[in-house]
Amino acid sequence: MNDIDLLLLYAARDEAAIEETAAVYGDSLFRFALRMLHNAEDAEECVNDTYRKAWDTIPETMPQNLRAYLFQVCRFEAFGKLDKQHAAKRSAELVELNEELATCLPHTSVEDMLDQKEWGEALRKFLENLPKEQRMIFMRRYWFGESISEIAKRYRIGESRVKTSLHRARNKLRHYLEKEGLT
């Protein structure tokens, strides 16, 4: 079943939409959630929440790309779950990723930094001007939370190229934030 058929089911308020979505995107959403939550049960729950959210929002929100929309919802849900857990239980890998990204900021304490909204907006503006290749690698790393080797394998490039690309992107981001007076 393709995205248009699925969206038609959502629009018709046919509950088969959820089953069909699970059949098409269930596996990849589960893997995505598991990467962030590191717990199969939590990941399963996160994916179910994603379906529910999709059911609630479509067709009011009619996504042009259902797959991308589901991933966005799933990511949002996963972070929501992380917030509910105790800080120590959070995925060490995600914390590590966050710290990697925080190297762009000169402040030692994250509390001193911008609020999330400001940061998100600054990041969006920065990524807008990044070359497509660099942005894709950046998004794979910090949005999808993929490892260096996963990104290299996906795009059939060397790990060193991925590392170099990320390193340069972070440097550019640091300069951008300094230039904009956001740090």
Partner: protein, 198 residues
């Protein structure tokens, strides 16, 4: 801020970027070597075209054809003289009959008729006659049969007159010449010319 706050704030990234990440291949960047090679090839073609057009041919610097059918225009077009024309081309450092001009007081002179083969054949007798006439006036001149490669690589053979002239003889050449005078000084190298009004 939580210790995943920076990642969390990326939730609101545009959908288009998430979509573009779904591609299995990265956008192709231009191959620097290929671009360089293409540019070099284009440059070679351009240079070749310019060369074929005669842009790098020696251009005459001084033409004083007062009594010549040939004009400055004909010389500047870098063609050989037309039938009936004769050019006198004087070069420093030229090698004629195994002799070279060695200083500014002695010049080599070439008397060249048209380099078109049919004109060459037609003008061979004229060349010889002019050489004999100038020799009688005290000019040291030699008939030369030359092989030459045309612009398009075609082999040519033509008859010229080469010789050595003093400054006075050179200056008098346009007066005594039956055909006019095309004087072309190459002072040191192929690229450097000095304009001299004889």
């Amino acid at each position: 801020m939580s210790n995943t706050a920076l990642l969390e704030s990326m939730n609101a990234m545009p959908m288009a970027w998430i979509e573009e990440c779904e591609n299995d291949v990265l956008p192709k960047k231009p191959n620097v070597w290929k671009v360089g090679a293409a540019a070099a090839a284009c440059a070679c073609v351009a240079m070749g075209a310019l060369f074929a057009c005669g842009a790098f041919q020696r251009q005459p610097t001084v033409v004083t054809p007062e009594n010549s059918i040939g004009t400055f225009m004909s010389a500047s077009l870098a063609r050989g003289p037309y039938p009936g024309e004769m050019w006198y081309s004087i070069w420093l450092g030229s090698d004629i009959n195994n002799r070279k001009s060695t200083d500014n007081l002695v010049y080599c002179v070439e008397i060249i008729f048209s380099t078109e083969q049919e004109h060459i054949n037609m003008n061979r007798e004229k060349t010889k006659a002019e050489c004999e006439r100038l020799a009688a006036l005290g000019y040291e001149l030699y008939i030369e049969e030359k092989d030459w490669i045309g612009y398009w690589g075609e082999p040519k053979h033509y008859t010229t007159v080469g010789g050595f002239l003093s400054v006075e003889q050179m200056e008098a050449l346009r007066e005594v010449s039956q055909y006019g005078c095309y004087i072309d000084f190459a002072m040191s190298s192929f690229e450097e010319y000095t304009r001299v009004e004889p």
